[in-house]
């Protein structure tokens, strides 16, 4: 213990003595750690955005939906007996927060000045807990040429029939503002083309890429468009107290439904609209339940996270290698400079193991200190950037980062991990020069006077 203390003193004072070298390495290590923390915060931020936009716009943490096939060639994304399915879910979901159900459609939205393809979410605004809380309305100037810097409309107007809440990107493309009408056109499941008109009652700020593909309307509008009874549902959305339990809960509910005699589709981690073709090709008729997690519903977006993480990984790896080479080089110089001192302590009876320990302590101390400073600085910077709500100027970047402001989320676990990882990199880089130092023969060391 006392020995370790004096080794720490020697290591520390040697670092202080080699001021320039220590400072240079510290700055490099701290910078890379900071970058690592920033990149991880960005990734976490995008992940947050993804969860937020997915669970607001298109999915619950766990979803019970399904397909109805009147003939083999059909595939209607509806389930019969909404009330029973809801009750089963409400009674059999551990850790349940709340349940909602929605109607779904895929329509052309048409106005005199534009048209677009979009999903339709038929909701009961009084049933929705998440949506009205998360959605923020946009200033009129954000979506309309010559618009005012005021928020128009109200999400709660969705209580009235044939209304619609759209997003600012959609408002620009359709050239509408609050109070204007949109025509939704689609085919009913009986193959008849049908249209419904709705009035825009609010324009919300975009929540990433997904908001281009969702328009909120009252359930009744969807039912009318598709000529469906209100006994059907497009999906039951389950929100849990802990989103991490989604996978597990889905497995449990599959069993529950199977036990009650429902037919279930094999789990496919894809959103419902990606399943039309394959379901239409299957040779069964009637109804099957399809269960998904929120991640399945946005699986077409997770490439963003994968890409981001991959780029980060390579960037950090390259920088870490550069750092490692720098550390090896510096340590090597240090070993050479201290050959005489090493010979002296070896002659005095210091073991090889202790020489190794001494050098490793020095490097690890430097690594721990520098990466701690860099990590904390990175975390502070990430928080500051996020708090500053810096708007992202490019549409494409906004779409990819799933947010219109730069959102970085510091995750304590990631922070600790980054600091430990960089300390480890420093320590491992020092291993080779340190073991060379430990293998020096005392005679060789002494001759070097």
């Amino acid at each position: 213990m006392n020995r370790l203390r004096i080794f720490l003193i020697i290591a520390f004072r040697n670092l202080i003595q080699a001021r320039r070298r220590t400072l240079l390495l510290s700055v490099a290590i701290a910078a890379v750690t900071m970058l690592l923390v920033l990149l991880m915060s960005l990734s976490q931020g995008v992940n947050d955005n993804l969860i937020r936009s997915a669970t607001t716009l298109s999915a619950g943490h766990v979803n019970v939906s399904g397909f109805f096939k009147a003939t083999i060639g059909d595939a209607a994304p509806i389930l019969d007996d909404r009330a029973t399915i809801r009750t089963i879910v409400e009674q059999n979901t551990p850790g349940l927060d709340y349940v909602i159900d929605r109607q779904r459609g895929w329509v052309s939205a048409i106005t005199p000045s534009g048209a677009l393809q979009t999903g339709l979410a038929g909701i009961d605004i009084d049933d929705e807990l998440h949506f009205p809380r998360v959605v923020q309305l946009a200033l009129e100037s954000a979506y309309r040429e010559g618009g005012q810097d005021v928020v128009l409309g109200d999400v709660n107007k969705l209580r009235e029939p044939n209304t619609a809440v759209i997003f600012e990107g959609q408002a620009r493309r359709l050239g509408v503002t609050v109070g204007d009408a949109i025509t939704f056109r689609s085919q009913t499941y009986r193959g008849i083309t049908n249209t419904v008109d709705a009035t825009v009652v609010a324009v919300a700020r975009d929540i990433g890429l997904l908001s281009n593909f969702t328009i909120f309307v009252p359930k009744q509008t969807v039912l009318e468009l598709y000529q469906l009874s209100d006994k059907t549902t497009g999906g039951v959305l389950i929100y849990l107290k802990d989103i991490k339990k989604a996978e597990e809960t889905m497995g449990h509910l599959r069993q529950v439904f199977e036990e009650r005699g429902y037919d279930l589709m094999d789990h496919q981690p894809e959103p419902f609209f990606a399943k039309f073709n394959s379901v239409a090709g299957e040779d069964w008729t009637g109804q099957k339940i399809d269960m998904t997690t929120w991640e399945d519903e946005v699986s077409f977006l997770t490439w963003i996270l994968t890409a981001l993480d991959t780029i980060s990984f390579f960037l950090i790896t390259i920088l870490a290698i550069i750092i490692a080479i720098g550390i090896m080089n510096t340590m090597w110089i240090s070993v050479r400079e201290r050959t005489r001192e090493l010979g002296t302590v070896r002659a005095m009876g210091m073991t090889r193991r202790d020489v190794l320990l001494l050098f490793m302590l020095e490097a690890t101390m430097l690594g721990a200190f520098a990466s701690l400073v860099g990590g904390l600085f990175g975390a502070a910077l990430a928080s500051a950037i996020s708090a500053a709500t810096i708007p992202i100027p490019l549409e494409a970047v906004r779409a990819i980062l799933l947010s219109d402001t730069l959102h970085l989320a510091v995750n304590i676990q990631h922070l600790v991990l980054s600091i430990l990882a960089m300390t480890l990199v420093t320590g491992l880089s020092a291993l080779w020069p340190s073991s060379r130092a430990a293998r020096l023969q005392p005679v060789q060391a002494m001759q070097n006077t």
């Binding site: 020995r3 004096i6 003193i9 020697i10 001192e341 010979g343 005095m348 009876g349 002494m446």
Partner: protein, 245 residues
């Protein structure tokens, strides 16, 4: 007296390209406990090589070096390190203190390597040693704040703090002016006489040689003269003779 060091037919060869340098040839000698012996000889005669073998930081090419009864050729690096830590003390020509440690910490260092002492015991031992080399006022100073003579006195305290059987010193006065060198040798001699610690040191300086009980003279890696064993001899004549080397 009981021999503390014995050399039997010891040769040391260094490879030098295709050649072989015979640094020591068939050296036979015995050092008894408590001796105060100097190893003299012209440059390149093998003094450092001999001290390295005795100090267990090198092993002979042929022959046997016995330190406190143990043959160093039979020991591995771990065992040699252990032997150095517990039985030997070193004083170096350029002092070789640890520059980042204070005087106190430098002297305490070998005790920490040994382990097994309480802080109080260590502190007492260190203070005692520092008092003996008369550096108590400089306890918290770093080596670069001390003069050469003071540094060598710290080195002596450091070499002696573990109470070694033998203290080895390769030209301990070579980097000091002759007056300071004299006082350093006096200090070593005084400790030798009061504690019966065996001292073996090499030197070029005839006035330092004069202070030794015995002078072993090397020439071309061979023993030219073994001096008088185990007795404080009248070596003034010999010293004068060596002064011309």
């Amino acid at each position: 007296m009981k021999p503390i060091v014995e050399l039997r037919q010891v040769s040391k060869e260094y490879p030098l390209g295709k050649l072989v340098v015979n640094a020591l040839r068939d050296v036979e000698m015995t050092i008894a406990t408590g001796e105060f012996t100097t190893i003299a000889g012209p440059s390149g005669s093998g003094k450092t090589t001999l001290l390295n073998l005795l100090g267990c930081i090198d092993v002979p090419t042929r022959g046997t070096v016995l330190v406190d009864g143990q043959s160093t050729s039979d020991l591995d690096d771990r065992a040699l390190t252990h032997l150095r830590l517990h039985k030997l003390g070193f004083i170096f020509q350029s002092f070789n203190l640890i520059s980042v440690l204070t005087l106190f910490q430098n002297v305490e260092f070998p005790l920490l390597l040994q382990g097994g002492m309480t802080k109080a015991e260590r502190t007492q031992r260190v203070l005692e040693m520092v008092e003996r080399v008369d550096l108590t006022p400089q306890l918290t100073q770093r080596p670069n704040e001390l003069s050469g003579g003071q540094r060598q006195r710290v080195a002596i305290a450091r070499a002696l703090v573990t109470r070694p059987r033998i203290v080895l010193a390769d030209e301990p006065t070579a980097n000091l002016d002759s007056a300071t060198g004299q006082t350093i040798i006096e200090l070593m001699k005084e400790i030798n006489q009061s504690d019966q610690t065996t001292f073996l040191f090499s030197t070029h300086d005839p006035r330092v040689m004069e202070r030794a009980d015995r002078v072993i003279l090397l020439k071309d890696g061979r023993i030219a003269s073994l001096g008088v064993e185990s007795e404080a001899s009248d070596s003034s004549g010999q010293g004068a003779e060596l002064g011309n080397v």
